[in-house]
Amino acid sequence: MMSFRDKIWPVSAILLVLLVIWYAGAILMNAPFQRDLNRRGDVDVTFSQFVGQTLSQQKPTLPAPHQVAKNVFENTFLRKVTSNRSLVYHSWVTLSSTVLGFAFGTALGVLIAVGIVHIKALERSLMPWIIASQTIPILAIAPMIIVVLAAVNVTGIIPKAMISTYLSFFPVAVGMVKGLRSPELTHLDLMHTYNASKAQTFWKLRVPASVPFLFASMKVAVAASLVGAIVGELPTGAVAGIGSKLLAGAYYSQTIDIWAALVAGSVVAALLVTIVDLTGRLVERAMGARPA
């Protein structure tokens, strides 16, 4: 395990390099349009002025980092959170369906895993399908679920949450099966010598052993859940959410808005994963796990 101090310098150095590349890219990619604009307007500019122009276009091909940062800052802190332009509002819409879908997905995944571990017929018939279903681009049916449910007057948060549920229950189910099977044979034998019932073995040995697996797969699931919610907002002309913000930006070529929405999505993702991670650590510590 690398310590924090080992990482901080390389990571910040690489982020700095990326930032420089981003600026250079912004200047290069915005230059043709700006040159064209200046030629038409018969404006003669020095090189430094020209660079300044490329970094302050209204609809740049690649917005400069400071433009994105300014947009994010304005739309996060300077607007009322109920405003339609506020990123907080859009993030909240996406976040709520993500969390709802994630909760359902986790519950469903755990249930399926418990069934698979205890019923042999279920394992033989269901497990191959769970694995096969991971090879299928499930996200492709997201727009259909939304449109079809809208046709029968189910709109709002539920359809989006269903997509998140669908995406998040696979990792949880697979991880949980692994976790519930993780106790070693000697431990199971020990429970046997205690004359423990099946339920006792389950609650006192299998469940505690599966907790680390559960949280590891929940981290994957929560990220998948967010992707599901965002994609669920794409095709339907949804009025709110990070996905609709992306789509609106794409329609009106508001590149800075797209990037700002991306930043918002990334912040939400980082937040969710961190929360799951921290909860996992707290639970493990409360259960008496020692850091490896």
Partner: protein
């Protein structure tokens, strides 16, 4: 030795059959026909109702006799599927008219199949080919019954076509629009996905090797790569469409970005997987960096690299299809899905999804087969 060996599934199936037999009619139309015998009303299961019940009852009873495992399996297989076939073909044309007995009989068939799966799962064998057949047959039966229940529910309840078309009509749609589907597959899979996949995985691999040589780079890139894999990268799709235009180039670009980081992180992790003893041995042989890399560390990293390739096979397909929602030429799987949803041609959407599912599974399967061939020495493949 007792002659009977009752299982709860068979008993429950019998109960279902008896209740179904006791209830007055299998469909609303049949009730109508009974009510006024003078009128000539066609109703489903005119001649086959008794046959279905008989089949299921006989199947359930026969499964309780102490037969050999194979005898029981064959009886159950035949009874349940023949009954299901009769039920499904019978209801066709009379959608939405089914009553409780229809669903009870489907449930009875399903219970018999459950018993069948339990029987098959219980078979212990040392014959490898038999073992493999069983491993395929059991999930296949499960999948088939998923479709049967889907078909029975949509036809029996008369679920509106727009909401959920029955699988049979999706199959008909696939058969009737093969050229369109082929064109979409060519555009999305063979252009966007494959090109993006090769470029993305190649770039991820190359950067991983570079990061392996330069430790500073590795320590910086690994945390970033780990973090990026949690981000909704799919969101860059509209930007790529703006930069690279509507054709497959922009989709390939999205696929490149989506596949790059899993490959990078997994390869870097894999390159650290070889043991210190083995590396010391290579050093005593005075082997160069590249010799160690190709003869020891890359083979040791192969399971990790193939893991990334498998993850990426799904990601690539998702990336290409979702990117097409943001604008494409008038061909491609994502384009077809979003436009046919708008036109409420839901069966075409399902056909496209079925094709995507098959393509995804084949893609994954090919990578998995290459993995088995390339890492034949690994414990997880040897089964040791």
């Amino acid at each position: 030795m007792r002659m009977l060996r009752p299982s709860w599934q068979a008993v429950a199936a019998l109960v279902c059959c008896l209740v179904a037999f006791a209830l007055p009619g299998m469909s609303t139309l049949e009730l109508e026909a009974r009510a006024n015998p003078a009128a000539v009303i066609d109703y489903p299961f005119m001649g086959t109702g008794g046959l279905v019940v008989g089949l299921l009852v006989l199947g359930a009873l026969a499964s309780m006799i102490r037969l050999s495992v194979w005898g029981e399996a064959v009886i159950l297989l035949f009874a349940a599927h023949f009954a299901a076939w009769l039920l499904l073909t019978g209801i066709m044309g009379y959608e939405g008219s089914a009553l409780a007995p229809f669903f009870l009989l489907i449930a009875a068939g399903w219970l018999l199949v459950w018993r069948l799966v339990v029987v098959l799962s219980g078979i212990r064998t040392t014959n490898r080919s038999l073992e493999w057949t069983l491993r395929l047959v059991i999930p296949a039966i499960f999948g088939a019954w998923l479709l049967i229940i889907w078909e029975a529910a949509t036809r029996g309840f008369g679920i509106p076509f727009i909401l959920l078309p029955p699988p049979s009509s999706i199959g008909v749609r696939i058969a009737s629009s093969l050229p369109v589907l082929a064109a979409d597959v060519r555009q999305t899979i063979f252009k966007s996905v494959l090109i993006g996949y090769v470029l993305g995985c190649g770039a991820g691999f190359a950067v991983a090797i570079l990061a392996d040589r330069v430790d500073f780079l590795r320590r910086g890139l690994l945390p970033i790569g780990n973090m990026v894999s949690a981000l909704p990268i799919i969101g860059v799709a509209p930007i790529m469409v703006m930069w690279f235009g509507f054709d497959w180039h922009s989709k390939a670009a999205v696929v490149v970005i989506m596949t790059f980081f899993p490959m990078l992180v997994n390869t870097v992790t894999g390159l650290a997987a070889s043991g210190a003893m083995e590396r010391d041995l290579m050093r005593t042989y005075a082997s160069s960096y590249w010799q160690t890399l190709f003869k020891l560390r890359l083979p040791a990293a192969a399971p990790f690299i193939f893991n990334a390739l498998k993850i990426n096979s799904t990601l690539a397909l998702i990336g290409a299809i979702v990117a097409e929602f943001f604008g494409t030429p008038v061909v491609g799987m994502g384009f077809r899905i979003s436009t046919e949803v708008g036109r409420m041609n839901i069966d075409m959407v399902w056909a496209e999804i079925a094709v995507a599912a098959i393509a995804g599974s084949v893609f994954y399967g090919v990578v998995a087969l290459i993995e088995r061939a390339a890492t034949f020495w690994h414990p997880s493949v040897r089964g040791g």
